[in-house]
């Protein structure tokens, strides 16, 4: 008779990984819709070159460098912390300068921002559960007003959303690896969420 009062730790990892994966997929889906409305409202083409835009975390990892679980999760956490700040700036720029009347659009950005904050929190939880320390985070100070031209704001917003979409793909992959790793090192747990 299985009546454990507390779930075994590998099962907790597994459940938390599942939740993070689900949230990452939800963010990806919401960001896809948001991108549609973003390009329309800014008059941009989705294929526009964004090479000139710097300051946004990119989802790519260096080739050849196998990352440890702690490094993988740390990189994810850092990225979502950065996206949280960047989305806040994008939202403020839209409200103040670019689309001041479009409250529905602002609400969509806000909704994604909240999900990203939740994802960062869950990643912190997972790191703690696995016994890893959280990477230090020094939030950048508020952007100096007038630092970006209006056109730069538009491009930056687009890059933030596109890279966020890429990060959610990477996170799902990373979290599945973490889950498999925890499975391999502990009690077997149902894997339906990861193989679906």
């Amino acid at each position: 008779m299985a009546s454990a009062e507390q779930s075994p730790v590998p099962l907790q990892h597994h459940n938390l990984c599942s939740r993070i994966i689900l949230l990452a997929r939800k963010i990806r889906s919401d960001v896809a819709s948001l991108l549609e409305s973003y390009v329309e409202r800014q008059g941009l083409d989705r294929t526009i070159s964004l090479d000139s835009v710097d300051g946004v975390p990119v989802a790519a990892v260096e080739q050849g460098g196998e990352l440890t679980v702690a490094e993988q999760l740390g990189a994810n956490l850092q990225a979502y912390r950065a996206f949280q700040a960047l989305l806040g700036e994008v939202l403020e720029e839209q409200r103040s300068h670019l689309t001041p009347l479009d409250t529905d659009f602002h609400a969509s950005i806000q909704a994604v921002l909240l999900q990203v904050a939740a994802l960062a929190y869950q990643l912190e939880e997972l790191l703690a559960l696995l016994g890893h320390s959280r990477p230090a985070w020094e939030a950048a100070g508020p952007e100096a007003p007038g630092r970006h031209s209006l056109f730069e704001m538009k491009l930056r917003g687009l890059k933030v959303l596109q890279e966020l979409a890429h990060w959610t793909v990477r996170s799902v992959r990373d979290l599945r690896q973490v889950a498999m790793h925890s499975q391999g090192s502990g009690t077997a747990a149902p894997d339906s969420q990861f193989s679906a």
């Binding site: 994966i21 997929r25 990806r28 889906s29 896809a32 991108l35 549609e36 409202r41 800014q42 008059g43 941009l44 083409d45 989705r46 526009i48 070159s49 090479d51 000139s52 300051g55 975390p57 990119v58 989802a59 790519a60 990892v61 260096e62 080739q63 990352l67 740390g74 990189a75 850092q78 990225a79 950065a82 700040a85 670019l98 689309t99 001041p100 009347l101 479009d102 990477p135 230090a136 985070w137 020094e138 950048a140 970006h148 031209s149 209006l150 056109f151 730069e152 538009k154 491009l155 959303l161 596109q162 979409a165 890429h166 793909v169 799902v172 992959r173 599945r176 990861f194 193989s195 679906a196």
Partner: protein, 418 residues
């Protein structure tokens, strides 16, 4: 360069996200970037590269129909020539005939007779290098200065608040974000106040929820402003008591008048929110048959709280609504403002025993019809009103409404199938 699947696509299922195709996309993307970010613990992502070029003027505001000459000056370190550049406006390449090389690193473009901005966030005028890379961009705001807002109308619900609406000049289309501010002050003293709750009753409206004085007129006006200027409406003067409206009448009931087949009686209560105030009220009733959208209005109800509708069709379901116009509050001489209509209340007139001009059906046939209808009615009562001790003609009315609706639905379904 984006190599991952397009963000606009629907979400990948899990197996797609982690299959080799998706991973190789990431790897290809990795190969195309030199960002070291992901593995490091403290990242400093928020940085900007130096501007490769500068567009002048940056983010200008222009009046519709005007012309603009913009220049793109490339950073000389890039070793790009002016001849290698080109311009786009909202993603469309501008014709080379409109370009002029000003010097080795500066290219100008001349735009004539500009149309209003395509999007609220401004048109995108972009300077590109030959390979399509963006060197610099400028947002153009092309529109009209605001016109003087007009037609300010205000109403106070139950004397507690004030809502005002206005019309923007020229349909409000300035192609630029135009801000409207409603301001108000007591006529003889007091300072300017600014309304805070906008768009509560349409795009051009504002709601002042509290702290309003009675017996002293207010001056109210609207200021419209955008990047091209400011326009102020005429000042409207009003006393709250003169613009009072109220909730719709409460407890509207509609009932039969004995067996009179062409009449219904309508009763209601005066709006409770105004019961403590000295005022007069006018009421209006509107009614329609169930299968018509055309309302008939009875506007000579006066200050009665009941009315009999006559000349109705026998055996027909009617919907009835009532509204109220409170006037003369504390001696105000102004006509009041009509409330919204109450929610519709339904009732049916009794069926006519005889159809004029048609012979009475034989008693046997009539009995059969009546028996069938009664059987149907009791079946409905059993299903919908079981345990309801208050069996009355109202219940029969409800059944008639239900019966008509179900016939209507059946007809619609039949029509769809056909």
């Amino acid at each position: 360069m984006l190599l991952l699947d397009a963000p606009g696509n629907t979400e990948c299922p899990a197996q797609d996200i982690c299959d080799s195709r998706a991973l190789s996309s990431i790897t290809r993307y990795m190969a195309n970037t030199d960002n070291p970010g992901c593995g490091s613990t403290v990242l400093s992502w928020v940085s900007l590269t130096g501007n490769p070029a500068v567009i002048s003027p940056q983010d200008p505001t222009l009046v519709i129909g005007s012309s603009l000459t913009a220049t793109c000056s490339v950073n000389s370190d890039l070793h790009l020539k002016a001849e290698d550049l080109y311009w786009t406006l909202n993603g469309r390449r501008l014709p080379p005939e409109s370009y002029k090389v000003l010097n080795g690193t500066t290219l100008s473009v001349a735009l004539a007779n500009l149309n209003g901005s395509r999007q609220q966030s401004g048109d995108n005028l972009v300077c590109h290098s030959r390979d399509g890379s963006i060197l610099a961009g400028s947002c153009l705001y092309v529109g009209l200065p605001p016109e003087k807002p007009g037609n300010i109308t205000c109403w106070s619900k139950n004397m507690k608040d004030l809502t005002c609406q206005w019309a923007p000049g020229t349909d409000g289309e300035t192609y630029l974000h135009t801000n409207y501010t409603l301001k108000y002050k007591l006529r003889w003293y007091g300072r300017d106040n600014t309304c805070q709750e906008y768009r509560t009753a349409g795009q051009y409206s504002c709601h002042i929820p509290k702290d309003l004085a009675l017996f002293t007129p207010y001056e109210i006006w609207v200021e419209a402003s955008n990047r091209l200027g400011v326009a102020v409406s005429e000042v409207v003067m009003l006393d709250i008591l003169d613009v009072v409206t109220t909730d719709p009448p409460a407890d509207v009931t509609v009932s039969r008048v004995g067996d009179l087949e062409d009449q219904l009686s309508v009763r209601w209560s005066s709006p409770p929110a105004l019961k403590d105030f000295l005022f007069q009220a006018k009421y209006q009733i509107q009614y329609r048959v169930e299968d018509s959208s055309e309302w008939k209005v009875v506007d000579d109800v006066g200050n009665q709280t009941s009315c009999r509708l006559a000349g109705l069709r026998p055996g027909t379901v009617y919907f009835v609504q009532v509204r109220c116009n409170p006037f003369g509050i504390y001696g105000s001489k102004k006509a009041g403002i009509w409330s919204d209509w109450s929610n519709p209340t339904a009732a049916s007139t009794p069926r006519s025993d005889r159809v004029p001009g048609v012979c009475d059906p034989k008693s046997g046939e009539q009995n059969t019809t009546l028996r069938r209808e009664l059987k149907q009615f009791f079946g409905w009562v059993k299903k919908h009103a079981y345990g309801c001790s208050n069996l009355s003609i109202k219940l029969y009315d409800q059944w008639r409404v239900w019966l008509q609706k179900s016939h209507k639905t059946r007809n619609q379904v039949g029509a769809t199938r056909r």
